[in-house]
Amino acid sequence: MFTHLNRSIALTGVLSPPIIVNGNGYLKTSSYSVQVNQEINIDHLYLQGGPGKAVADFRNKNIQGNMSFFPRINEFNSLENSVIDLINAGQYYTSKVSLTTLLLPYNPGITAEGDPFTISSSEINSLIFDTCIVKKITIKAKENEEVKIDCEIIGQVDEPNISPISIPNDEHEIYRKLTWLDCFFSRNGSQMENLYDVEISIIKEMDQRIFLFPVGSASNDSVYNTGVKSVSVNFKYVERITSVFDLFSYSFGGFADYINFSGKFGPISFNLPNVTYKISSQNLTPDIIERTTEGFFKISPITPDNQNFVFTFN
C-alpha cells in the first residue's frame, strides 16, 4: 500500500476571481453563497414492490444565497461601484443586479432531463445570474469593528449567457475599509454619543410563483416570475447608559415624527425623518447597562418608489 505525497495547489478564495456586479464592477466579498438552488429528493413511496426509493422529485430552481462584504473607500472617499449598485438594488424595489462568479455555472435546461456533468460550452459559459433581487440588505457598524454589509439574494435566470464573458479591467486603486470611526449618528439634531452598535436593514417580502405552462410555449423548470410584495426599513441601535438623564432617551414605543434619525457610514448617508419606535429593551446588570432600541422607518405606500429613499452617497 503506497502513500503518495505530492504538492498541489488548491484554489482558495483569496486566489479565485472576485464577484462581478452588473458586468462591470468587482466586489471583494468576505463570504458568498449566491447560486442555483433546487430541491431534489427521493422522498416518494408507493405500492411499488420493494422498499427502494425509486422515484425522484426535481422541484423548481431559482437563484438564492447570501453575501457579506466590507465597504471600502479610495483616497477620494468614493465607494466601489459594485457596492453602490448593491445598496441601490437593496433600497429600490424594482432594481435588479446581475452577479457573475466565474466559478458557479447555471444550467438553462430542465435539470431532470440533462446530464449532471456537461461539456456543453453554453452551460459552462452560463456564469451570469442575470436577475438577482436584493431581498434584504443590512448595513451594520459596531465600535472597534469595520462597517459590514450583508445581503440576501433571491432571483432567477431569464437569459442564460452562452458566450464567454468579458472580464472588467482590474482596478489599480488602493482602498481602505470603513470603520466605526467613519460613522456618525444623530437624532433630533443631536449626536448620539452613547451609541456603539447600529444596524439599518431594508427588507423586501418576496414571492416566486410557480405556474403550469400555456399550450404552445416552451417549458422550463426554473422559476420565471419573481415579485416584491412589501418593503420595510428596520433599524436597531444599542446605547450605553451613562447617567440617570438617559432615561429621557428611553423609548416607550410609538410614532416619532420629525425625529430625523440619521447617520453616515462614511460616504453612505441615511435619514429617517419619521419613525415608529418599539419599546426599548434594557437589562440591569452589574456590568455596563446597555439599551437596545428598535424601530421602523415610518413611510407611506409609495415612499419606496423614490430611488434613494433611505441611503444616499456623498
Binding site: 413511496l45 408507493y46 410557480i210 405556474f211
Partner: protein
Amino acid sequence: MPLNNDFYGVYKIIKVKTKKSGDTSSGSQHPYIIQQFDVKTNMETQAAFYMQGQPLTRVLNIGNISETYNVTSPLLVPPSGQIDQDYVQDGRILLNDILNLQYQGSNSYIPNNSLPLMTSAKIDVTNNESKITFTLESDGDPNNALNIYNFVPGTDSNVTNLGLDQGARVARNYDFYVDFGGIKYYVENVSLDLKLSTKKLNFLGAYLPEDTYTGVPYDGTHNGTWNPGTDLEKASYSGYQFPFIAVGGIEATATGKATVAIHYDSGTGTLTGTNYVVPSENQPAYSNRDALLAASNVTAQNTGTFNSTIESFNIYLRHVDNTSNISLIPAQFNFTKGIVSQKNYNFSADVMTFDFEVKAYYTTS
C-alpha cells in the same frame, strides 16, 4: 423479535383488472403504481322488528351489495433517456386502461359489459405533485373468476412491468400545458373531473334458473360479463344480491386557480388586465352586450352570452422526447371544447387570484 415487513404496502404491487392491447374484452390484471387503494364492500343490513314477543333482533333485512374502490395513482415521468412515455405504469396509463375495459374503443361509447366500472376520475395537476384519483365500482360478487385487484410481490419481472426498474420522477409544473376555455396563463393548479353516471338495478329471479346452485352463486358463466347474444335466456345475476350496473352520461369539468396580473398603462392612464380581468377606472360595468363582447382581455365566457369561438379544452403532458405532447384527456372521450361557466375573483394585498370552472362539451365539427 423477528423483523416483519409484511405489514408494509411498499413491498407489494397491486394488479388491477383493466384492458391493454391484446387482452380479451373481459380484460386481465395488470400492475400499476398506486399511492392509495381503498376497498369498501358494503352489504346493507338492518335489524327489522315486529310484534315478535322479544326485543332482541330476530330478523335481519339483508340488502344488496355494493363494492367501491377509491384508487389514487401518481402522474410520473420516465427517467431521462427512456423515450417510451408509456413505460411507467402511472395514473395516466391506469386511466386509459380502465376506460379501454369500459368502452369498446377510442371514441366509442358503447360500453363493454365488464367490471370494474369507473364512475369518476379526478386528475389533479398542480405545481407540486400531480395524481389521478379514481372511483371504481363492482358488483361485490366474491366468486368473480377474475378479481378486480390482486397483490403480487416485487420480483424483477413485476417491477419491470411496473416500469420502475430504471426509476422515474414526479411530474411537475414544467411537464404540463393547459388551455381551458382559453384560460392558460398563470394557472397554478387545475383539476379535471370526469364523472360517469351509473345506475344499479336488482331484479327478481327468473323462473326457472338455468343452473342450480348449492352455495353463493357464480357470477354467471362469463366472469361478470353478460353476453346479450348468448345469455338472453339465462337468469344469470337476477335473483341475487349482486346488482346490474348500467353506464350513463359522461361529464367533464375543469376547475382551478389562476393568478391575475393587472397592469397600469401609464400612457393611457387605464388599467389593463391579463388573464381575463379588466377593471377599468372609467367603465366598471359594461352597458350593453356588444360592449361586453368587444372588451379587451375578457375572453372568458361572459354571463348572458354563449361565445362559441372559445373552443379549447386541453391539458397535455409534455412528452419526454420534447417534440410532442400527450393529452391527459382520455382518448376514449373526445372533449376538445369548453365554456367557462364560473369565475370567482379574489383580490387582496396578496396575490390576486381567479378560480375558474370550465365545462366541456362535444361537437362533431
